[in-house]
Each structure stands twice: as structure tokens, then as C-alpha cells.
């Protein structure tokens, strides 16, 4: 309670009263906000699918007597009806490819826009900023024509390639590179390094904050894709877990246990990353917003 001693307050009693009320309300709000997620995890460990729903209205929603991984075993197959193992793998593959290609391509473009010498860079930059206003939803129908005419329906490529280059991420890289000191760039050119080398061995290692921000934003965006994959995938081959869960939930809503287990499977990868890099997650959301 060091801050209490440092800052003078009018009366200690009213401050203490305020603190108690504050702590209780914070706790209650946190409980209300977090309980749906907590219920999901608990329910996925329960075996009796009819009991799950009955339990959820009471405190039993937060408790499981005999935790079991049966639900996960049932849905975690790689073929057949409940091939959520496969769908999860598909999603991870799409995520990994989109993010790694996206980091390279948007970072290179942002670097050239910031430090290159091509004429018309300012124009390209303003076009890119203007493109940011186009919502994905409003180009999805023509995109469907283009991608299916190119023979890419029901492929991984169709879910990766269209989303690799992005105005927002190119702009974020541009913004980051542009504020690095000029001396850095000049030192590299005096040493005779090529522009590609300058980018790769000097600017890329310095851009960890930008790399983290873009990976996180792009990762969440890719992981949560729903409309596009539902339009473009027809079979299990490249179907991501988001579409698979929605389809399963839509037709077999009585299998709460399985739907919950599949949802937990979808949450775990992102949760692991979030717990490991929480600070980065939060700062990247701020970063995506403070763009002019």
C-alpha cells in the first residue's frame, strides 16, 4: 500500500470504504465477464451431454466432478465425421502461411516506401491508405468470381494468398521504418550493402515491435475468418476449424459436449500465445488504432 502513504488523502476512512466498494465491484464485473469462458472449459470436461445444460444455470457450471478428456477424444479425429483434428491442422497451416508470408511481403513493401528511391512512392502510399477503407465484406462477391475462375476453390491457396498483402500492415511497417534514424540507413549504404541486405540485416532485426504487432493482428484476423472460408471451401480438404464448428453446431446442437470440446480446441492455440505475449497483444491493438 505504498501509494496510500505517498499521496495525501482527505480522510483515511472514506478512502478505505471506497477501496472496498471498488474491489468488490471489480471482482463482480470480472466474474460476470469471464464466467461464460470458464463455463466453456468446464463443460468440455464433462461427459454427460444432457447434464451439461442443466448444470450451467447453477454453481455446478463452475465445477466438474470427474474431469474427462473423452469429448476431445471423440472430436479430435483426422478423418470421418468429427475430424476436428484435421480442421485444427488446416487452420494452423493457413495461419502459419498467411502470417509468415504477410510479414515478409508487407515489411519489404513498407521498407521500400519509407527508404527506397523509386519515384511515385508518396502516391503509392496514399493509395494504400485509401484502400484501407474498403471492407472485406464489400469485395467478397467479386473475389469469389476471381478465385473460382482461377480454379482455386476449395484450396489452401485461396485462403492464404488473397490476405497476405494488406494496406494496414504495409502501412504499419512503413510507419515503423520511417521513424528509425536516417544514420542507420546511411551507415548501411556507406558499407556498400545492397538495399535488400540493408532491409534484412539491419532494419528487420530492429523491427521486433512491428513484427509482433502485425503477427498478432494478422493472426487473430486469419484465425477468425469465417465468411470467406464458408464461401470457398466445399469439402473437408481445406476446411478451417471455424467453419467446421459452426456447421456442427448448426446441425447437431444437442451434442453440447462435442461442440464445447471443439471450441476449446479452437481457443487453445490463441490462448497459449495470449498468455505468453499478453503485453504485446494489448499494445498491438492500440497500435492498430492510432493510425492517421
Amino acid at each position: 500500500m505504498s501509494d496510500l502513504a505517498l499521496t495525501p488523502r482527505k480522510s483515511a476512512t472514506s478512502t478505505n470504504g471506497y477501496r472496498i466498494v471498488q474491489s468488490i465491484s471489480v471482482f463482480v464485473i470480472a466474474l460476470v465477464i469471464i464466467s461464460p469462458l470458464f463455463m466453456l472449459f468446464i463443460a468440455s470436461l464433462k461427459d454427460d451431454r444432457f447434464q451439461i445444460l442443466a448444470d450451467m444455470g447453477s454453481f455446478r457450471a463452475f465445477w466438474v466432478d470427474n474431469p474427462t478428456f473423452n469429448n476431445f477424444r471423440e472430436v479430435g479425429n483426422f478423418a470421418g465425421d468429427l475430424a476436428f483434428g484435421r480442421y485444427l491442422g488446416n487452420s494452423l497451416f493457413i495461419l502459419g502461411s498467411t502470417v509468415s508470408l504477410g510479414l515478409i511481403i508487407n515489411s519489404m513493401a513498407g521498407f521500400i516506401l519509407a527508404w527506397g528511391s523509386l519515384p511515385g512512392r508518396a502516391l503509392i502510399l496514399s493509395v494504400i491508405i485509401a484502400l484501407y477503407v474498403i471492407p472485406q465484406e464489400s469485395i467478397i462477391m467479386p473475389l469469389l468470381i476471381i478465385v473460382s475462375r482461377a480454379g482455386l476453390s476449395d484450396t489452401f491457396t485461396a485462403q492464404i494468398l488473397p490476405f497476405v498483402a494488406s494496406p494496414l500492415y504495409t502501412f504499419l511497417f512503413y510507419q515503423f521504418f520511417a521513424q528509425l534514424p536516417k544514420e542507420l540507413y546511411e551507415a548501411a549504404s556507406i558499407d556498400g550493402a545492397s538495399i535488400f541486405r540493408t532491409w534484412w540485416s539491419i532494419f528487420v532485426p530492429l523491427s521486433l515491435p512491428a513484427l509482433a504487432t502485425v503477427s498478432i493482428l494478422m493472426g487473430i484476423e486469419t484465425w477468425n475468418q469465417y465468411l470467406w472460408p464458408i464461401l470457398i471451401t466445399q469439402t473437408d480438404y481445406a476446411r478451417p476449424i471455424s467453419v467446421a464448428i459452426a456447421t456442427f453446431f448448426g446441425q447437431d446442437s444437442i451434442y453440447w459436449d462435442r461442440a464445447m470440446a471443439a471450441s476449446v480446441m479452437m481457443m487453445i492455440p490463441i490462448l497459449v500465445f495470449y498468455l505468453a505475449f499478453q503485453r504485446w497483444f494489448i499494445s498491438s491493438f492500440v497500435g492498430s488504432a492510432v493510425k492517421g
Binding site: 464485473i29 466453456l40 474498403i134 469485395i139 467479386p142 498483402a165 469465417y226 464445447m260 492500440v286
Partner: protein
């Protein structure tokens, strides 16, 4: 350097003269992938959407050629009651979700801006729904909303001592959109919370100290320092939430399919249905052009407002 003499254009000559061919080609090579991909997958479909919107393009190619039909699709859309219903529904959704979502974001940000124990733990928890995929959110809330014996109804019955009848959250036309508002606000408020928190931390401490010296209490400081300091943040948060709200789709597609009685039909859902299920791609493109214009207008209003508040 033969480039000096062979390249005729003055501008071109100057860059190659300055940096040489190898560097010029490297720069092109580094910029090209992004430009080409954006052209193919963003600019082309965008331009194409205006053209397709004026044709009778079907989803699956037919032997009969695609015809140019001018503004007929737009006229049909504007004469379709369901389109106006969907536009009214997203407006209704926006008007409800703005106070709920931004209010929740504001309150949680205020809490996190205080010196409370375990602040970082609470911040991490408050942000969790924002990283939860909408599909997962739909599974959770679809379960909570079960009628008549679902968890939320059990809570309502218990708290009211049995006086309130179970609510058919997603099946009752007068409740369905409100239920969608609840789960959407819960999922998305974390983003606005973080923006508010950044805004609050950007208010200089001196202002609070000055207010304290002037005898302002907790409430006075909130009302005369925090609120005016957050004006640009409010504008930003409101606009972002509005644009997000107009694109409402996933929750609807998974939980209600626009029902019951079209009470949750939205513009994007209407577009996907006409383009994908009814296979009228030209018609759907016309809807997407309208959606783009709506988003553009909101974004332009935001720019005006932001300039006014000097952001």
C-alpha cells in the same frame, strides 16, 4: 553505365543514374509482391464489384452470356422490403450496441486506470473475450440462450423468484436482436477498452494535480478532467464501433440466419444470401457497393470529426 544513354525518359534516367540498375530492380522486386497481390485481390475485385453490380452475373457460369442491365439491380434492391428491413436492423443493432459495448469498455477502462490490486491480471481477464473467435462465442452464447431451460433463463427465473417467464432469447422476434447485441458487445468491448485506457493514460497527471489543488473531488476530477480529455477517443471509438456494427454477419449466420421473421436480417447476411444461396452474384455485388458507400460515408464523417477535435 549504358543506362544513361539508352533510357529515354528523363525521370527514369535520373533514378537509375542515381542508384543504378541493380538497386532499381531490387527495389521493384521488394515492392512488387505487395502491389501485385493488392491489385489482384483488393483493387480488381473492388473495381469489378461496380461492373458486376450492373450485370445479371450468376454464381455458376451459364451458357447464356452475362448481360449489362444498368442500374436494374440497384432499383430492385431499393424496391425490396427485405433490404430496407436489413438496413433498419443493422441501424437498430448499432443504436443498441453503441451504448452497451462502449459503456462496458468505458467502465472497465476506468477500473483498470485506478490503482487496484492485481491490475494486470484483471486487464488480462477483461481482454480475453476480445481474442475469442466469434464462432466460439456463438457456441457459448447459443448454449446460454437455450429456451426454455437454458442457463440464462435459469438465472433470470431464480433472480426474479419465478416472476419472469423464461425468455426465448433467439426465437422471439422482439428479443432476438437484443440477444445478438449482448453477445456481440461481450465479445468486442475489449478493443474499445484498450483504446479508452490508452486515452486515459494520455491525460497528463498535472491536470489532475491542478484540479485537486482547486479542490475538485473524485467526481469533479472525472467530470472536468477525464471526460474532456477523452473527447477524441470517444469520437474514434464510436466511429469504429459503428463501422463494425454495420458489417454484422457471423453471429447472425450461425445463430439466427436472419430470423425469426427477418428480425435479425442484416445487410451482409442479405448480400451473402442473394449471392451465394440464390446465386445472383450481380445482385449481391450491387448490395456490396451499397455497403461500401455506407462505410465510406461513416469514415468520411469520422475524418471531419477527428479534424474538428484536432486529433
Amino acid at each position: 553505365m549504358s543506362a544513361l544513354t539508352t533510357v529515354p525518359k528523363r525521370r527514369r534516367r535520373s533514378i537509375i543514374a542515381r542508384v543504378g540498375w541493380s538497386r532499381f530492380l531490387q527495389e521493384i522486386g521488394m515492392l512488387a509482391p505487395a502491389i501485385v497481390l493488392m491489385t489482384v485481390f483488393l483493387i480488381t475485385p473492388f473495381v469489378l464489384s461496380f461492373w458486376t453490380a450492373m450485370t445479371n452475373q450468376p454464381l455458376v457460369p451459364r451458357p447464356t452470356p452475362v448481360r449489362f442491365i444498368g442500374l436494374k439491380n440497384f432499383l430492385r434492391i431499393l424496391n425490396d422490403d427485405l433490404f430496407w428491413t436489413s438496413l433498419w436492423n443493422v441501424t437498430r443493432f448499432t443504436l443498441w450496441v453503441l451504448p452497451v459495448q462502449c459503456g462496458l469498455a468505458f467502465v472497465t477502462a476506468l477500473i483498470l486506470n485506478q490503482k487496484i490490486p492485481f491490475r494486470n491480471v484483471f486487464r488480462g481477464m477483461f481482454f480475453l473475450p476480445a481474442i475469442t473467435s466469434m464462432v466460439v462465442v456463438c457456441v457459448i452464447w447459443g448454449t446460454l440462450f437455450q429456451y426454455p431451460t437454458g442457463p440464462l433463463n435459469q438465472v433470470v427465473t431464480t433472480l426474479s423468484g419465478g416472476h419472469i417467464q423464461p425468455i426465448d432469447w433467439l426465437g422471439d422476434p422482439s428479443w432476438a436482436m437484443f440477444s445478438i447485441v449482448l453477445l456481440s458487445a461481450w465479445q468486442a468491448y475489449g478493443f474499445q477498452m484498450i483504446i479508452y485506457l490508452a486515452g486515459m493514460q494520455g491525460i497528463p497527471d498535472e491536470l489532475y494535480d491542478a484540479a485537486r489543488i482547486d479542490g475538485a473531488g473524485r467526481w469533479g476530477r472525472f467530470w472536468h478532467v477525464t471526460m474532456p480529455g477523452l473527447r477524441p477517443t470517444h469520437v474514434f471509438v464510436l466511429v469504429i464501433t459503428t463501422i463494425q456494427a454495420f458489417k454484422l454477419y457471423t453471429q447472425i449466420a450461425i445463430l439466427t440466419q436472419g430470423g425469426p421473421n427477418s428480425s435479425t436480417e442484416t445487410v451482409v447476411h442479405y448480400m451473402v444470401r442473394s449471392g451465394f444461396e440464390e446465386q445472383k452474384l450481380g445482385y449481391a455485388s450491387a448490395v456490396s457497393v451499397i455497403l461500401f458507400l455506407i462505410v465510406l460515408v461513416i469514415a468520411l464523417i469520422q475524418r471531419r470529426l477527428m479534424r474538428r477535435f484536432d486529433v
